[in-house]
Every structure is written in structure tokens, then in C-alpha cells.
């Protein structure tokens, strides 16, 4: 089918020119590393801030309403809009992608962290307290391990979201595999587009599978209920 369409449009531009790829292997490696480190950095910053936010929301219940509302509004801002809005302010560089990606990562992760601890069975927790665990012991031995499956599910969604958003950032020349796509689209050249597409999909799928495996590892007591909120 691809061939048929290509045939109709006259001179046959192959989906991918391997020679071009061969000449750009260094570029490919650089973009891949950039994509990876942007993702990891945004994830780490997001985890730190989301943990803080979730702790505050659980410690002072009245903050939960306003903070949730704030993160929900942040979430409705389309990523392109956020990239575009930040660019003129901060200029091209890593500040824009890091700030934008961290924002999304904390916005996606915070509700998972809240739910992870709020949904624990109160009778299990009470049993732990009644057996003489101090708050710190209980948190380490009971709350945290039981919350892990939901936390990992949250990290999974967050990681995949960020990998995708790094790609979008590439459209603004902000690094990662998106740069290939930007390049390809701007001069109607399919090879870099395909490289960018395949690269970002591979990273996303590998990250996703990694979390699935990790999720099973941290919760051997429950069959993996692979359910994300719709």
C-alpha cells in the first residue's frame, strides 16, 4: 500500500535511506542519549516535587483541594503550548524542556502518589500500629511496600508521557529524537522522520516494559493488575 501511494506520487523516495542513517550514527547516538537524560532528569525532579506535594496534601488535608485543582489546570495546558510559551522567556537550551517536562511529570505523578497511600486498607495499618510499630517503622515496613504497586503504576504512566513529550520538544529544537522529526518535516525528507519515530517509540516501549517488570518485582504478592485509570 505504501508502495502504491509512493508510486502514484512520481519519483520514488524510499521510506528510509540507509546511507543517510549510516552517515548520521553519531547524531543518532547523541539524540538517543539526550532523549534519555531529559526523561530521567524530568522524572527525578517530578518525583521529588510530587512526593513533597503529596506529603503536604496528606499532612494538611485542606491543601489537597486547591493543590489538586492547580495541578489539574496545569495538566490541561497542551504540551506544545507550554513549550511555545516558555521558549521566548527562557530561550533555546535545556531550561525549557526540563521545566516543562518536570511540570508534566509532577502533575501526572502526584495523584498516583496520593491514591497509593490513601487507598491502603485501614485495618491493615491499624494492625501494624497495634502491634507496636512506631510511625517510621510502620511507614517503612507496611505503608510503603503496600503502596509500591500504585507508585510504580504512576511512574510508568509518567515515564511514557515524558518520553512522548521529549519528542514534542524536538519540534522546537529542544533535543532528543524529536529533532530528527523536526528536521524531516521541515524538508519533507522521510528518513530522519522514521529515525525519530522509531527511536522515540523504542524508548517509550522499553521504559514501559521496564516498569511492568519492576511492578511485578515490587509486588510479588499480588497478580499484576495491569489497570490504569482510563
Amino acid at each position: 500500500m505504501i508502495a502504491a501511494i509512493a508510486a502514484q506520487s512520481g519519483p520514488v523516495e524510499p521510506l528510509i535511506r540507509w546511507r543517510w542513517v549510516g552517515h548520521h550514527l553519531d547524531d543518532l547516538r547523541e539524540r538517543a542519549l539526550e532523549h534519555l537524560w531529559l526523561t530521567v532528569a524530568a522524572l527525578l525532579i517530578g518525583v521529588a516535587i510530587a512526593s513533597l506535594l503529596a506529603s503536604v496534601m496528606r499532612r494538611w488535608r485542606w491543601t489537597a483541594g486547591p493543590l489538586t485543582a492547580a495541578t489539574t489546570i496545569l495538566y490541561t495546558i497542551p504540551s506544545i503550548a507550554l513549550f511555545a510559551a516558555l521558549l521566548p522567556l527562557l530561550g533555546v537550551g535545556y531550561a525549557v524542556p526540563i521545566i516543562a517536562l518536570s511540570t508534566y511529570s509532577l502533575v501526572v505523578l502526584t495523584p498516583f502518589l496520593l491514591a497509593a497511600f490513601d487507598d491502603l486498607d485501614p485495618s491493615t495499618l491499624e494492625a501494624a500500629t497495634a502491634m507496636g510499630m512506631t510511625p517510621v517503622q510502620r511507614w517503612r515496613r507496611v505503608d510503603l511496600p503496600l503502596a509500591m504497586p500504585t507508585i510504580v503504576a504512576g511512574l510508568r504512566v509518567t515515564t511514557v508521557t515524558i518520553v512522548g513529550l521529549v519528542t514534542v520538544g524536538g519540534l522546537f529544537g529542544l533535543g532528543g529524537f524529536g529533532d530528527f522529526i523536526d528536521d524531516g518535516l521541515s524538508r519533507d525528507f522521510s528518513t530522519p522522520i522514521v529515525l525519530g519515530v522509531v527511536g522515540s517509540v523504542v524508548i517509550a516501549l522499553v521504559a514501559d516494559l521496564m516498569w511492568v517488570v519492576l511492578g511485578r518485582a515490587v509486588a510479588p504478592w499480588q497478580r499484576d493488575r495491569d489497570r490504569r485509570s482510563p
Binding site: I5, A85, V163, V194, L205, S229, P230
Partner: protein, 215 residues
């Protein structure tokens, strides 16, 4: 920031083929077509799988895995493959984006209906199709709607990408504004997109709330 205010309050910017009105319409048009088509595909299959529960876990797992594929990758691939530019890649990418939340919402919604209720319905002599129509679907509706809410939210936000493949959605103000160094247009476009996303989300949220309170 007089830029975006000026851009948005200038009547001329709203009219014409390049105006805010036309691009808003384009943006909504592709969003509605994509979400509608995805619903036509995802809801019946999701309800069927949720009802029989056969292959449910696998279907949900595969669907969730498919969510890992970035929309931009889909969009770019369609262009690279030469299937077209403009509407076609945008629609395909938005369709693919809307599919998973709608499908998972329907599957979990139906399959998590209290088995005792379904039992009672069967016990009162309802046929399988009656059970689906008058018990499972109404009870699944809140989850289906929250799936729809996610789908619409993501599609409206992401349809912006169409501008990068020659489709004149609201994202066009961002690409053109950036290319021409017109920050007023860029931020104006951002404001319109955010407003649209917030409006759509709160409308669906209100609908979901009415559905829940009606139970």
C-alpha cells in the same frame, strides 16, 4: 503582556480563513471526527469484552502498552510513509490517541459492574442483550464518560500538533508566531488552546458529575 491581549482583541484576527474562528473550527472538527470514530470502534468492542470478560486482561495490557507510542511519532510516521499531509495524519494520530482511554473505560466499566447485580438481572429473566443494555451499560457509564473525558482532553491538546504537518489547527498560531517572531500571536494561540481544553474538560466533568449523582 499586551501582545496576546492585543492579538485576541483585534477583530480582524478572528475572521477569515487564517482567523481564530476558522482554526478553532478546524481544531474542533478533527477532534470530534477522531474521538467519534474512536468511540464507534472502542465502545462496542470494549463493552463486548467487558461483558464476556474473555481476553480482558490481555486486551487491557496491550492497549496500555500502545499508549506508550507518542502521538507525534504516529503523526510523523504517516507523513513519512507518504499517506498524506494535513488532515489525514492529524486524524489518524488523534484517532489512535483517543482509542485507548475509551476502550479501557468501557472494558473496566462493564466488567466491574457488581456481579450480584448482573446475577439478579439474569435471575429475573433478562436475556444477555437486555442485561448489557439495561444493566451493564448504564452502570458502566460513569467510567465510560471519564474515559471520554481523558480522550477529549488529550485530543484537543494534541491536535495542536497538526500544525506541524500542514493542518491549520490552533497550533498554527504557535508555529507561525514562532517563525515570524510574533509573540502576541504565539501566546494568543496558547491562550485559546488552553481555554478550549479547560472548557471541554469542565463540560465533560459536569456531565460525569450529573451521571454519578443520578445513580
Amino acid at each position: 503582556m499586551s501582545g496576546p491581549v492585543e492579538f485576541l482583541t483585534t477583530a480582524a484576527n478572528w475572521a477569515g480563513n487564517d482567523g481564530i474562528g476558522a482554526r478553532l473550527a478546524t481544531h474542533l472538527w478533527v477532534s470530534v471526527l477522531a474521538v467519534g470514530a474512536a468511540a464507534v470502534v472502542a465502545l462496542p468492542t470494549g463493552i463486548a469484552i467487558g461483558h464476556t470478560r474473555r481476553g480482558r486482561d490481555l486486551a487491557v495490557a496491550v492497549t496500555n502498552l500502545s499508549r506508550a507510542v507518542p502521538s507525534l511519532a504516529v503523526l510523523a510516521f504517516v507523513v513519512a510513509a507518504g499517506w498524506g499531509i494535513g488532515f489525514v495524519p492529524t486524524w489518524i494520530a488523534m484517532f489512535a490517541l483517543a482509542l485507548p482511554p475509551l476502550f479501557v473505560g468501557a472494558v473496566t466499566g462493564v466488567s466491574e459492574v457488581d456481579p450480584a447485580v448482573v446475577d439478579a438481572a439474569v435471575g429475573m429473566g433478562m436475556s444477555a442483550s437486555q442485561v448489557v443494555r439495561s444493566v451493564e451499560i448504564p452502570l458502566a457509564l460513569p467510567l465510560v464518560v471519564s474515559g471520554l473525558r481523558v480522550a477529549v482532553g488529550q485530543v484537543i491538546a494534541t491536535a495542536t500538533l497538526g500544525a506541524f504537518v500542514g493542518y491549520n489547527t490552533l497550533g498554527r498560531f504557535i508555529t507561525v508566531g514562532r517563525a515570524n517572531g510574533n509573540d502576541g500571536m504565539l501566546y494568543g494561540g496558547v491562550v485559546v488552546i488552553v481555554a478550549l481544553a479547560v472548557a471541554a474538560d469542565s463540560a465533560l466533568q459536569r456531565w460525569a458529575k450529573t451521571l454519578r449523582s443520578r445513580r
